[in-house]
């Protein structure tokens, strides 16, 4: 098991595009860590830097205490499963899995044993004699995984390995990955733009945007205590509602004034005292907005703007002047467009961000 430390890691591509921008990250030995972010956020670049396939412009990479920044990939003991699997098309499943072992000069007997072990683990016995063109996506993905884990690398890197699978297979593969992680007890770094994968599989999640680390925390904290507006908005489906507001202090009460409506936030107490700026953004997850067709105490009135049934529940978008707010309701909740409706925020779940820095106060 290996600890991976990224120190001030920066990659600027020829032409000036910034891939990764002064990234500091410590990935604990034996942990499952996800790099989560939208396309082009630098997560795959980070993975390639760790693998040694790219040289950093600045910064260092350590495996435990060993500086591996300029160690070539073939000497790093890193396994990487690519997004498109990169299974060698001219070799059978067996030859693909055995490839790394052959390069390492193992005897044919040992190779056979190890390939069988990993084929049993990933249920690949049927594809060992087949060429990649005769395999389906799920089989290709497992062959790629098998080829990588068979050599027992110090660090296992997975670059969106489930993105080519259809929804059903993806759920199954996710479960298998989780099982595999328990079995391998290996440091795994997993790149994904799918928050469900990151949240369900990982011990820790590093959320990235434009090459920068936005938050590195447990999945629970990423969801419940986002450190900035980007993380708050990126994690969670449907995304968090953001409403521009100002903090107004009046008669010993604190009001979050959004223009069209205001929320009495006095109950939140001391946390509001530390807020210096008055231009703020309040954030509330759709699940924390309660709506009712009858007036509710402390509730405000709005109109139904859209209704999206999701099967087990509904997403109701309400509109107050130009402000749109999404709320999740039980599937039985029946409303019509433009119907008057009352809503209320769960104050305990409210997030406040600075409008300028977009950093979270709480």
């Amino acid at each position: 098991m290996t600890k991976v430390v990224l120190e001030n890691l920066t990659k600027i591509y020829p032409g000036g595009t910034i891939g990764v921008d002064h990234l500091n990250l410590t990935i604990e030995s034996g942990s499952f860590t996800s790099l989560l972010g939208p396309s082009g956020c630098g997560k795959t670049t980070t993975l390639k830097l760790i693998a040694g396939l790219l040289d950093p412009t600045e910064g260092r990479i350590f495996f435990d205490d060993e500086d591996v920044t300029y160690v070539p990939p073939q000497l790093r003991s890193v396994g990487l499963v690519f997004q498109d699997y990169a299974v060698f098309p001219h070799m059978t499943g067996y030859e693909n899995i055995a490839f790394g072992l052959r390069v390492r000069g193992l005897s044919e007997q040992e190779i056979k044993k190890k390939v069988k072990e990993v084929a049993d683990l990933l249920e690949l016995q049927d594809v060992l004699n087949r060429k990649p063109r005769d395999m389906n996506m799920s089989e290709l993905q497992r062959v790629a995984l098998a080829r990588t884990i068979v050599t027992r690398p110090k660090v296992l890197l997975l670059d969106e390995p489930l993105s080519n699978l259809d929804a059903t297979l993806r759920v199954k593969a996710r479960m298998e990955l989780k099982k595999l992680q328990k079995f391998l007890k290996q440091t795994i770094i997993y790149v994904t733009h799918d928050q469900v994968e990151a949240m369900t599989l990982s011990d820790k999640v590093a959320v990235m945007d434009k090459g920068k680390l936005k938050q590195y925390d447990s999945p629970k904290n990423i969801f419940e205590r986002p450190r900035n507006k980007f993380v708050a908005g990126f994690v969670g489906t449907p995304p968090m509602n953001f409403i521009d507001c100002t903090l107004v202090q009046k008669d010993g009460r604190y009001l979050l004034d959004a223009g069209s409506f205001a929320i009495d936030a006095t109950k939140l107490g001391d946390v509001l005292k530390d807020i210096k700026s008055t231009a703020l953004i309040m954030g509330i997850r759709p699940r924390d907005v309660s709506v009712s067709i009858k007036p509710i105490s402390g509730g405000m009135m709005a109109k139904v703007f859209a209704v999206e049934p999701l099967g087990i529940e509904k997403v109701v978008t309400i509109r107050i002047d130009n402000i749109l707010i999404k709320a999740i309701t039980p599937k039985e909740f029946a409303v019509k467009l433009d119907q008057e409706i009352w809503f209320k925020f769960n104050l305990q779940k409210l997030h406040i961000f600075d409008k300028k820095t977009e950093e979270a106060y709480f």
Partner: protein, 294 residues
């Protein structure tokens, strides 16, 4: 009613066949004319109206170019002219075009890897490589003769091999690079993480995948070198004789000897046909310019 959709190739209609036959006649006619001329005796070469088949077929044209013994030559030509046997031209062409092609393909392959995988030479490199072929060879030939004279390369095998390799290498780089570009870089990256050096990854992973492309490139360049005339004519004078130069040797004071010329041309085509047929299964894939998918 369910309509069945056939996944087999649709059958060709009469019109399609007719079109194919017309195209085939258009391309094959010169070869046919060569073939019949090579079996015609001298009096039938230029008769008007032309004979579509030899009336008195003979293999003397072939015998004359391969074994130019006095009696044979006189029988064909009606006069005696001394020729070098065409066997030397075959051997020389094989050496010069063969080695020139191998050199161009090997150097082209390495250069293509350098450009495609390591971005060596920057963005303008490929344009510069092609510039070698933008000017007609005639432009280069005079300085080349001067240069070769100084080096003592005129009328030598290595001189001609080097010239052939140099002037066909740009094609090799361009064509092979397009094949390498088609192979996902991740395959090599993956092999490197499995413990291979960059060079080993090129040769063990990408090379087998572009085999068809390499064969197609080799055939293409070999055809260029095998039929090259200008350099062979001007950079040699007797010590090295290639087939295109030998064919012109049959333009004599006794007239144009179409029969022997046709016979030699037919013999010269045979190695190309044999090579092309042997590697046919690779060609179909190679000539579609990259059909590799992981």
């Amino acid at each position: 009613m369910v309509k069945r959709v056939s996944l087999e190739k649709p059958k060709m209609g009469v019109l399609e066949y007719l079109a194919l036959i017309i195209v085939l006649i258009f391309f094959m006619f010169p070869i046919y004319w060569l073939l019949i001329t090579s079996f015609k005796p001298k009096m039938e070469w230029l008769v008007s109206p032309p004979y579509w088949f030899p009336r008195n077929p003979t293999i003397l044209n072939y015998l004359v170019i391969l074994f130019p013994i006095k009696e044979g030559v006189e029988m064909v030509l009606g006069s005696y002219i001394v020729f070098k046997p065409a066997t030397k031209a075959f051997i020389d062409s094989a050496i010069v075009a063969g080695l020139g092609t191998i050199l161009a393909v090997v150097v082209g392959l390495l250069a293509a890897f350098a450009v495609s995988r390591h971005n060596i030479g920057g963005n303008s490199f490929m344009g510069l490589v092609l510039m070698l072929r933008m000017a007609p060879p005639m432009v280069a030939i005079v300085p080349l003769i001067v240069f070769y004279s100084l080096l003592g390369f005129v009328d030598t095998y290595h001189g001609l091999i080097l010239a052939y390799a140099t002037f066909t290498m740009p094609y090799a780089v361009w064509i092979i690079k397009s094949f390498i570009d088609e192979v996902p870089r991740e395959l090599e990256d993956s092999a490197r993480l499995d413990g291979l050096s960059p060079l080993a990854a090129h040769f063990k992973i990408t090379l087998p995948l572009i085999k068809g492309g390499i064969f197609a490139t080799t055939l293409f360049i070999w055809i260029l070198n095998w039929s090259e005339y200008l350099f062979a004519l001007l950079l040699t004078h007797g010590n090295v004789v290639t087939l295109p130069v030998q064919i012109t040797a049959y333009q004599t004071y006794a007239g144009l000897l179409y029969g022997p010329q046709a016979a030699l041309a037919i013999l010269a085509v045979i190695p190309l046909v044999v090579f092309g047929t042997t590697i046919r299964r690779y060609l179909a894939r190679g000539l579609t310019f990259g059909a590799i998918r992981g």
